[in-house]
Assembly symmetry: C2
Homo-oligomer: 68 residues x 2
């Protein structure tokens, strides 16, 4: 199950980088702590569906693209 | 954002019923409380991605089918 968070985080990071957005900016837009954003990208957080949707919106993609 | 949980819950319920599984059985298989299962289906829970995947697995479907 840990793989889910890790793969989700990798996809978030890849998508963020492809958009040229910093982790700081992503965190700010998502209204989350920068350290939390880092933990999400490293797969250390069991993120909620709601927050996953919020990240997808900020990353201008469908949540399905971020899912493992 | 509340809509996400509500729509997810509706889809979980619809899928569960289409499989003829009781809420009790779903809860048991997912290793969650029956009352929690009910709350998920009513959209009262901000479910984690991990738990959403677990439910999809039990409901023998891809998580994408359960997402709003």
């Amino acid at each position: 199950m840990k793989d889910i968070a890790i793969n989700f985080g990798k996809k978030v990071r890849a998508r963020r980088k492809s958009l040229g957005i910093s982790q700081d900016k992503l965190a700010l837009k998502a209204n989350i702590d920068r350290s939390y954003a880092g933990r999400v990208e490293r797969g250390e957080v069991n993120i909620t569906l709601e927050k996953a949707y919020a990240l997808a919106e900020i990353l201008d993609c469908n949540i399905r693209e971020l899912l493992p």
